[in-house]
């Protein structure tokens, strides 16, 4: 139990440090990455380029063990198919991301840097609750 709590806190610390170090916390930087038709700043591609192989390596290590270090099963591959809900949801998310330069992680992290971002975070919570209600599930 303690190890689970410690790793959750550590993962948060690493994630926050990673967002801050990479520049993901800065909406202007993110909008620059998305601005391929203008003054494109491709540097943030480095975030995915580094994060994916590191994650994949540790996932593979976990897969070889067959269970989580703290006990319990590992989540299986994502269930479900490519459907309208997935593509439509991703498109709506992309629209909001492009409008503000904020996705959920950086938006929450930015609360310690600029209280104005609370407007976005509260609105995001409303959007999540609406989506949950519409889907009628506890997702």
């Amino acid at each position: 139990m303690l190890i689970r709590a410690a790793v959750a806190l550590l993962a948060g610390l690493l994630f926050g440090a990673g967002l801050a170090l990479s520049g993901m916390i800065n909406p202007a930087k993110v909008l620059g990455f998305l601005d391929i038709a203008g003054h494109w700043d491709p540097s943030l591609a480095g975030v995915m380029a580094a994060a994916i192989p590191v994650t994949a390596l540790l996932y593979r290590l976990a897969g070889k063990r067959g269970s989580a270090v703290a006990g319990g099963p590992l989540p299986g591959p994502a269930k479900g198919i490519v459907d309208f809900r997935l593509v439509g949801g991703a498109a709506v998310f992309g629209l909001g991301w492009g409008l503000a330069g904020l996705c959920p992680g950086p938006a929450i992290a930015d609360m310690v840097l600029d209280p104005r971002v609370m407007i976005f975070v509260v609105a995001m919570a409303v959007g999540m609750v609406v989506a949950k209600r519409l889907s009628g599930s506890g997702v």
């Binding site: 959750a8 994502a78 503000a100 509260v122 995001m124």
Partner: protein, 133 residues
């Protein structure tokens, strides 16, 4: 420019370490939107891990961010509209940048590949169109 790429790679490495450890040790997918929205309804069995993760996220950001960094946030209306769209979209798509573009792609999920391609393409189109209108 080169230093920007190095910072992005280093930051991405830390994010990957976070996502990988959360899976290896706790057996959980590190998806920010999933962890956050789980706290908006009836709290899940592992609620303490979600809360500690977000506590760490705030502390980690505060420790590493350049002191006094000014964020170019949009107008309150733009923030509110964008926030609702992001919140709704990530729940419908069952994941955001962390869950799909990092964790999902790391395990070769086709759903995550489609979701990531879609939200990056739409976000790029939005930025381009926002400059016209």
């Amino acid at each position: 420019m080169l230093s920007d790429i190095l910072y992005a790679l280093a930051g991405g490495g830390l994010i990957g370490l976070a996502a990988g450890l959360f899976f290896l040790v706790n057996g959980r997918i590190l998806g920010i939107s999933g962890l956050a929205s789980a706290l908006l309804g009836r709290w899940p069995a592992r609620w303490l891990e979600n809360v500690l993760f977000f506590l760490g996220l705030l502390i980690g950001t505060a420790l590493v961010a350049r002191p006094g960094i000014a964020l170019a946030l949009g107008s309150p209306v733009r923030l509110a509209v964008a926030g609702i769209l992001v919140g709704f979209g990530v729940r419908a798509a069952n994941g955001c940048t962390s869950g799909h573009a990092v964790c999902g792609l790391a395990r070769g999920s086709k759903r995550s590949l489609v979701a990531t391609g879609t939200f990056i393409a739409v976000a790029m189109a939005t930025v381009a169109l926002a400059k016209v209108f």
